[in-house]
Symmetry: C2
Subunit: 123 residues, 2 copies
Amino acid sequence: MSRQELPVLNPETCCTPLVAEALTEAAAADLARGFKALGDPVRLRLLSLIAARAGGEVCVCELTDAFELTGPTISHHLKVLREAGLVDSQRRGTWVYYWVVPGRLGSLSRLLDTSAMTSGVPG
Amino acid sequence: MSRQELPVLNPETCCTPLVAEALTEAAAADLARGFKALGDPVRLRLLSLIAARAGGEVCVCELTDAFELTGPTISHHLKVLREAGLVDSQRRGTWVYYWVVPGRLGSLSRLLDTSAMTSGVPG
């Protein structure tokens, strides 16, 4: 049931900040897939609700309750997040439970890290 | 000419990692706009080329040379990046010069930061 083993990011290309090294085409394609999944307010809030859960996982039943959207719409957004490698899920009995994949979030975070930036920026 | 002063992120909502606090609707809408702009391989490579430039800015003429795409297509992608607050630009003579907006990149980076994650994640 777990999809965490699906290949998402090549660790050799995923983690260097943009400010340190230009991206290859292959890395850009993979990383853009992750950012595209984040490029929707509902998906970002869903990810946020899952990520902020102290227990580490959230029942889909709670996520549906948090939005004025239909169950199928929520399920579609969760599927996009899962296919982008940002969350993983497991069915237990009636409900599906979701949790974030910290490695994937961390890779995208490091890519945008500007702390290594030292040069002066005009403007 | 500079658009760096345009409002993009409310600093009070932009910078808390997802794993620490669930997003508000307003913050999610703003942040999703940034991620959506990053959700395209060409835009991500353009941003990467600009960000990795030690001198801090890049002439649009160099960016066009790096892709097998028409000038108008490159310009369109740069406009999306600029409207999302990720880069800023200035025309000088014949050419337009681009640089990254570190604050915006840093906000998106911090949002995805998982280093505060302490709970066990199943799977």
